[in-house]
Symmetry: C2
Subunit: 214 residues, 2 copies
């Protein structure tokens, strides 16, 4: 099904390849991201660039060509997981607190299934600053949670001018590390945890409704 | 005023010193911590172990003898700042929401005055896990915030069995990075920010009061 042999036979001056360079890039990046997730899940300390490259079947030089640092590779991995949350949230036909619970439930599931792979990326900048300058990670979080948070804000009578603050609070309360922690420490079913976390955040929004940010 | 000359004259086999070794340790550690704070405040990226040792007037080998890694030195710096919060909180003769506002206000002041020096330490473990195993940082946070949080919980009718969860939530909401962020982004006086954050957290506790953790 590949079109590569036809291209090679067409007399192109490039050397014959089984895949086009663009396909190679996509495949190699996917292999690096998969290897990153596997190593981080098994043993975060072992997830060095050479170990990830080896697991992906690539040279270290190739790995660094795609991702100039381990941190960038890791960020890309996290953003890919967040993209899954965005796509899931976009399919939901729910309203009220059910919408928020569904998004939070999916996030909890992603965090638990990816484990420690979710908790190593960190920025020195706070969320509001990153959101204000349109940083990619902050924008994806906004896309994933926005509709659900606005719906809860409507229910809890929080003015929409408070949205950025509400989103930053959601991001702080439901960060991966603390959700994993709760999953470990709380001896209850995920559905109960999700319900309690939603109840907690609704209270937070009722508190936010009384404030005057910004 | 030093007692060292007398000790040296007493025929001790140790070589004469102007200070006892224990005083040297305390003085050198204090110099390293002060240098850490200065460099982190000015330019976090420049705060390497050699740069900190140089600023403290010590050799790199000496610095590493006291703190085996930059991370441990940085942790110690943060714990010293938290100790100030503990001591301040212990002096307060307030109740109700005033107590919480006073502790939060002091924390905000410490975070703003120490700046980026407060936001680089991070653990892979969540707060509840660290609290459960009595980790030093978690214990200090407990000591600093405990009475104020319990007082707010009483007002908001949250059962005291929910205390650990309430403390973890407080820790997530008021982490240094996000407070610095709010300080930068919100264009209001710190006293207004503190009042709004307290209102937000009271809402969170009202939400928590409806949950069943653990």
């Amino acid at each position: 099904m590949s079109t590569a042999p036809a291209a090679a036979a067409s007399g192109s001056p490039a050397p014959a390849r089984r895949r086009g360079p663009r396909q190679d890039v996509a495949r190699n990046k996917a292999a690096l991201l998969a290897a990153t997730g596997e190593l981080l899940r098994d043993d975060p300390d072992s997830a060095t660039m050479p170990a990830i490259a080896a697991r992906a079947g690539l040279s270290v030089a190739t790995a660094y060509r795609y991702y100039p640092s381990l941190d960038e590779l890791h960020r890309e991995y996290l953003l890919n997981v967040l993209d899954q949350l965005v796509h899931y949230a976009a399919t939901l036909d729910l309203d009220g607190a059910d919408l928020f619970e569904a998004v939070l439930g999916k996030w909890f599931e992603l965090v638990v299934s990816h484990g420690p792979a979710m908790v190593l990326v960190r920025s020195r900048e706070g969320f509001l600053t990153r959101l204000a300058r349109g940083e990619r990670h902050a924008r994806i979080i906004d896309a994933a949670w926005g509709p659900a948070i606005r719906e809860l804000m409507r229910i809890e009578d929080a003015d929409e001018t408070l949205y950025d603050y509400a989103l930053a609070t959601c991001n702080a309360l439901f960060n991966s590390r603390e959700l994993l922690d709760l999953h470990t420490v709380a001896r209850r079913a995920p559905s109960h945890i999700i319900r309690d976390l939603t109840e907690t955040y609704r209270g937070t929004l009722r508190g936010i409704a009384r404030t005057t940010y910004p």
